[in-house]
Amino acid sequence: MKKLSIIRVISFNLHTSTRWRLAFLFGLFFVLEGWKIAADNTSSIKSVGDFYFLFFSGPGNGSLSLIEILVWFIPQMLFYFLIGDMAYDELSQRGSVLLPILGSRWGWWSGKVLTLFVFSLIYVTGLILTITLGLSFANPINLNSYNSSVTLTSLWPNSQDFSGGQLILLISLLYVSSMFALGCLQMTFSLFCRRSIYSFLLIIGILLVSCFISVNHPWLVRWLPGTQTMLVRHTFIDVTIPDLSFLWSILYNTTLLAVSVIIGFWVVKRLDITRFHSKC
């Protein structure tokens, strides 16, 4: 028997388990969102770094503005929506065909986890590219004429330490690691609960609770899954937040991912694959 190629498994999963048509629609939405943010902030955006900072840094811990929350929340919510069918729905609808082809439950689960990683990379890259496209529509000046460093020092004094490139690297790593970890938790919970919608709502709940609960409790920020993507709630930007470093976020996300992968496999290993009915 030929050995399974993980690349072929990931390719199959990317074809069949994500809502690509909606992803393209969301791409258009992000172009518009990037354009709107750039157009609304022409006076404060002096550099490409400022624009990325406004879009990706998340709502601050001191003052919660609805616009800030939505700009941070919508791209994440859409990501978890796009991957909603990845685990449970496939197993319930195509498990009887796919699992015997793959030959093992671990093969199926590891294929899903790796596919989620690849999809997180594609999504964050696509997000950065589409909002940058929106920015270029909003401002007729060529992007190259922008100073790339962050200049929003009146809002966040420590932000001046970052160039646009550094900011994009930080944001990409935080977003990809966080979406990968929370996406894996979502897949695991969907298998446990046997309903994709419940796991999607769980993740949305985690994001919103993370956003609001820590406002009066800065010590909580580092422990919440949703705040790991919020650059402005990291100590190197906001000194009132204790002990939330970039490294902490990466370790936190890695730990969450490892726990989700192990629990997920534990569930898959014991799961009877029948026509599922919700357990929750």
């Binding site: 028997m1 009887s96 065909v97 796919l98 082809i101 030959g103 009877d272």
Partner: protein
């Protein structure tokens, strides 16, 4: 052509003292049977009798509460997680509704890369469908979806085929077509286990038959 491996074993399927309970409810009770390599075996029974569950256990999709299943002498859950070189259609084919029939098979076949595009087209033709039909499967009738499900089960030339009510949703011509296909596959040495509501179908196709009643299996012929 069925692989050499299949021919060196006496039994394709051997089930011993198999039981399955879900939340205290007995679904399968002390099932024992053997299906020799190269035979067509059938299980008849009403809805809810446990036929589909038995196929799911044999496919490795559902864990038995007790008992043992051997496929070509390999113990399921011990030697292997899923039966090797086995095609199955259980309940619904689980098609990707936005893709054509051909694309459904192509995507699945790419996972193991055992067959080429011509093989896929031949398989689709063998179940009476048009491989050049570009319509998405969501526009297929129940019978067409069923045929495509059978095509998926047989496309990689399995040694063993498990079919849950393969003629369900088919018109008389489609049933005839599938019967001929199953007989042809069996002539190639492929072992087939199917379930059905129809005693006529079981008598016509199978050389070994069982009846399932309330989770228990009884020999018919």
């Amino acid at each position: 052509m069925a692989s050499e491996k299949a021919t060196v074993h006496k039994d394709a399927i051997s089930v011993t003292n198999l039981s399955k309970q879900i939340r205290g409810r007995v679904i399968l009770e002390d099932i024992n049977f053997r299906i020799p390599v190269g035979s067509i075996a059938g299980i008849i029974g009403h809805n809810g009798a446990g036929k589909s569950m038995l196929l799911r256990v044999i496919s490795g999709l559902v864990f038995p509460t007790s008992g043992e299943v051997k496929i070509f002498n390999e113990i399921l859950g011990k030697d292997i997680e899923f039966p090797r070189n086995t095609g199955a259609l259980i309940e619904e084919p689980g098609l990707l509704s936005q893709y054509s029939g051909y694309d459904n098979l192509l995507l699945l076949s790419k996972i193991r890369n055992l067959i080429n595009k011509d093989n896929i087209k031949d398989t689709i033709k063998s179940v009476g469908l048009d491989p050049d039909d570009k319509r998405p499967t969501k526009s297929y009738s129940t019978g067409m979806r069923q045929r495509l499900g059978i095509a998926i089960a047989i496309m990689e030339n399995p040694d063993l085929v498990l079919l849950d009510e393969p003629s369900s949703g088919l018109d008389p011509e489609g049933i005839e077509n599938i019967h001929q296909l199953l007989q042809k596959l069996n002539e190639k040495g492929i072992t087939i286990l199917l379930t059905s509501h129809s005693l006529e179908e079981i008598n016509l196709l199978t050389n070994l038959a069982f009846e399932m009643k309330s989770g228990k299996l009884f020999p018919l012929h």
